[in-house]
Subunit: 264 residues, 2 copies
Amino acid sequence: MKNLCVVLVGTRNPLNVGAVARAMSNFGATELRAVRPYEKAWREAKSAVGAGELLARAKEFANLAEAVADCSLVVGTTAVGNREMKHPLRGLEEGARLIGKRMETGRVAVLFGSEKWGLSNEDLSYCHWLMRIPTRVEHRSMNLGQAAAVVIYEVGRRERITTEGAEVPPRSQRRGEKTAPLNPKGAAPKMGKREKLAEMETVERIGEALLEALRKSGYIAARGEATAEEKLRRMLRRFSMEAADAEVLLGMVRKILWKLDESG
Amino acid sequence: MKNLCVVLVGTRNPLNVGAVARAMSNFGATELRAVRPYEKAWREAKSAVGAGELLARAKEFANLAEAVADCSLVVGTTAVGNREMKHPLRGLEEGARLIGKRMETGRVAVLFGSEKWGLSNEDLSYCHWLMRIPTRVEHRSMNLGQAAAVVIYEVGRRERITTEGAEVPPRSQRRGEKTAPLNPKGAAPKMGKREKLAEMETVERIGEALLEALRKSGYIAARGEATAEEKLRRMLRRFSMEAADAEVLLGMVRKILWKLDESG
């Protein structure tokens, strides 16, 4: 569980911050991060009686990009109302299974939005995919502390199943997804032998460089730049790049950018 | 989930009552009961904005026996510190599976104790077995609202698995338990064909009659009666009597009691 980062975005209520920290401690997660928390709530939560070491070590970030920079998978949680979905959506069980797999080779961030608004579209653009707790259609929205408890429990449950060597239950194949071997060359993937995926810091740098290149090449007009930025971010995250590949790609884009600067 | 009763015993904090109700609504449970709730907390929770129908319909009971009278299985939740364990203890996953099975034929009560003390030994004597959420040994005790959310989620998860026809994951056989066929005559048990189990009201009446008989027969001394009562209650619950058998047993004990009265 040490590779699980719980990221609270814009949390308002100190009791909820405390509740999330408590559930983390119950289930063995340790890394709590907060993006733009309400200052008062954050201070109150940190100074609460019994807040403990986990909250004392919790870090605050000015923006989401920094909060997930060292993670190789970023998952948003959502109650999914009628918001237009631009991301793959996974159920909690399937999501927790994928998170567990990724935690073997790198850090995974799981984001929880503010009590009132959830995650914004900009927040979502940093996510590889979204995960929904299977609440009733008639009452989807969960209390933040309870949502975190259920998610961390389910991620921990998967990890216990894996660690204890018991069989992970077969999954009904949803959304047409195939259980393709992770190693495309056909050999069965070995545990712990998987390629390390790129951290978000690298992917974000690729995005920035590419965006600048697209701007300079006239691909993106000044109008509509915000949209283009979000679209690009989502696209890059869909790639799930390996760390080595990401470095190569970053080099390529930088080279193009250099050329554009030179010729421009 | 209509056969799941969530029973709060001695809850103190209205926010926790509200949080339990919210998680129930999220995951489709509807039957909330409270035993000796702090009056103020109970009133506040019921009158809170957005408390909703579930809390409005929630019932209050003066004692636990009445609260679980119509249930055929009573499960206590526990963080299990160093309390002397007189009950079988099951993990949440195994417990939720058994609860799901019992919900096919009758009501199941899941008890949550007070925030401060959990369930008392007397409360526990009404339970068939106890269930533990797999929290870390170093930080076992959960927030009440979060514990309820995780338990109801897990029970609901099992039900979805069963309802959707997907395979329930194989269980490692714990505590030497065998997966004996439910029908001892050897035929494979058919869904919905299982015998209905006795409701707690009947079992409680057997207990009372038997206790009186034991008292009158001199089996139980006036001293130590409270202990005998608890022991007896636990024993009767370990039997998991079918409804028809329970009626027969009750008749037997009553007959013995009548005889004791006559000769005494």
